[in-house]
């Protein structure tokens, strides 16, 4: 038995979600290899070789994989996947973009977003915005799986000594190309990896007011998130959306400010260890999942909190 984990990386280093996918792979009990596909990605390849519990790292360094174009990477993974029983990717936008293409090329049904491994062919995954957990069994010989990062504690990034193998296959489907990207730059931790997250909703009223949350975030070493309403209204960029159709987070502390607690928002944060809600409406559903609720006007409470820290 063997498992191939598709690394999430930026060519220079591995993203923490990769370590969570390796943890899920360990639960499958098979030998684990990691694929690093990218361009000038030896940094990420070396980092993958140091991950605990990994046998081999495959490094496919080619211009065709520079921007993780799904059309190209899927061809590579489908080819390499022939030798594996399981193919796993983290629940990142790259993982979600590429893996279903791999599954279809291999004629395998994909199991998305698993939260536990029950046996070699049976997995649990949330459906209906996490209101229900389904136990799903695959009848395919090969399993193609994305892993919900928040459900698996990442393995150690150190202590491993995997061998590194260069992969020469260059698959360029020639049907898509990269034009540009606008990536958010922030000194704060990444939303999905932060120990503390403070999120704002429609109650924040505008983007400038998010500065209040940023100030608290900087004191707590927190990442800043948002509800869909805050993103739709243009207060903050889309990559800050927490929820069923945004990012899934499970920090030690989640502070929801001016967020009502719609099902779709709860789906993205209700596995946080401690939840704090600040809302002026005592009937807001967010209080039903909050460990500590404060019924208050956020424009008084947040500056007070900032001062108290």
């Amino acid at each position: 038995m063997s498992t191939l984990v598709i690394a999430e990386h930026d060519n220079a280093s591995l993203k923490p979600a990769t370590l969570c996918a390796v943890a899920a792979a360990q639960a499958l009990g098979a030998d684990i290899d990691i694929l690093v596909a990218g361009e000038a990605c030896s940094g990420a390849g070396d980092a993958a070789a140091a991950v605990a519990g990994v046998s081999k790292v495959l490094v496919a360094d080619n211009a065709a994989y520079a921007h993780q174009l799904a059309e190209n990477v899927a061809l590579l993974v489908a080819e390499l996947g022939a030798n594996y029983d399981n193919i796993l990717a983290p629940d990142t936008s790259n993982g979600k973009n590429t893996l279903p293409r791999v599954a279809a090329l291999l004629d395998v049904g994909q199991i998305s977003d698993i939260v536990s491994v029950e046996s070699a062919d049976t997995f649990k995954r949330p459906i209906y915005a996490g209101n229900v957990i389904a136990t799903v069994q695959s009848s395919d010989a090969k399993k193609v799986i994305t892993v919900r990062s928040t459900a698996f504690d990442g393995v150690s990034a150190e202590g491993g000594s995997a061998s590194i193998e260069a992969i020469d296959s260059a698959h360029d489907a020639g049907i898509s190309s990269f034009v540009s990207e606008e990536l958010a730059v922030s000194d704060r931790p990444e939303l999905t990896a932060a120990d503390v997250v403070i999120s704002g909703g429609r109650g924040m009223q505008n983007g400038e007011n998010f500065a209040m949350l940023e100030s608290v975030a900087d004191k707590l070493g927190a990442a800043v998130g948002a509800s869909r309403a805050a993103v739709d209204a243009g207060f903050v960029p889309n990559d800050m959306q927490v929820g069923q159709t945004g990012k899934i987070v499970a920090p030690d502390l989640y502070i929801a400010v001016g967020i009502s607690g719609a099902i779709q928002h709860l789906a993205g944060m209700k596995d946080s260890k401690v939840i704090v809600a600040i809302n002026k409406d005592e009937d807001a559903p967010i209080f039903q999942v909050a460990d500590y609720g404060l019924v208050a006007d956020l424009f008084n409470a947040v500056p007070e909190l900032d001062a108290a820290l």
Binding site: A104, S138, K270
Partner: protein, 249 residues
């Protein structure tokens, strides 16, 4: 340019779905059903392309039992020109849906296929990408902007770190994200007109597909419930609790 839009019938997004007591399935008795919100955005985008003179015809396709004709009619009321239902018993998994959509693509030869990024019932986020692989078309998933540029399609995507723009050759696949557009409401006259629009029904066999399940749901259960905690009286008390009780700051 012909545009194909895939629309799915799902539970309305306001409904809090529960597992049946015996764990066999979710309880959908007397629950309000609707067009998947991401599919509604897909229809809106296609209709806008038609209004802009880029698209010549918009075809809405849904896969499911007869009840999904309701969602096809919704798409027709929003401005799609005609509908196709592929008749299956109950819900089909993404790989089967993708194979059936491939059959429709071969029949209709669209230049653009727009799907939602995710069904809000199964939360799969698979079908568009699978269709891309099966038809060898490029994909612009999680789209927040699409623009035709000669014989190419530029798609701006919502990705983890921000936004990314790709150039795809046509025919291509797009899956919608929330910020692509704000769908219109269907007017009453358009709802009436939609009832008369053409709606063809195919069987999987008509499309040369034999649906074979790869996945079986063994059981469904409620998630671990969170207990509501306490209401604190002041910021001061909150900070004290976080420091000394929860020990998270």
């Amino acid at each position: 340019m012909k545009v194909l839009v895939a629309v799915k019938r799902v539970v309305d997004y306001n409904v809090k779905v529960r597992a049946k007591a015996d764990g066999s399935d979710v309880d959908l008795n007397n629950v309000k059903m609707a067009i998947n919100p991401f599919c509604e955005i897909a229809v809106e985008e296609a209709v806008r392309l038609k209004e802009a003179g880029t698209a010549t015809e918009v075809i809405a396709v849904s896969i499911g039992d007869k009840s999904c004709q309701e969602q096809i009619r919704t798409a027709l009321a929003l401005g799609a020109d005609r509908g196709i239902q592929v008749e299956t018993e109950g819900a089909a998994e993404p790989l089967i849906v993708a194979k059936l959509l491939k059959g429709v693509v071969e029949k209709e030869q669209p230049q653009l296929v727009i799907l939602g990024k995710q069904s809000i019932d199964g939360d799969n986020n698979q079908t568009g990408q699978m269709l891309g692989a099966l038809t060898n078309m490029p994909q612009g998933t999680f789209a927040s902007e699409v623009a035709i540029d000669g014989d190419k399609l530029n798609v701006t995507r919502e990705v983890d770190g921000g936004m990314q723009t790709l150039s795809l050759s046509l025919p291509a696949i797009v899956t919608t994200d929330l910020r692509l557009n704000e769908p219109r409401y269907a007017s009453l006259p358009n709802i009436m007109k939609a009832k008369k629009k053409q709606l063809d029904v195919y069987s999987p066999a008509d499309l040369g597909v034999e649906p074979k399940a790869h996945l079986t749901t063994l059981k469904v259960e409620p998630p671990a419930e969170r207990q509501a905690g306490i209401i604190v009286e002041s910021v001061e008390q909150l900070v004290d609790k976080l420091k000394n009780e929860a020990k998270v700051i």
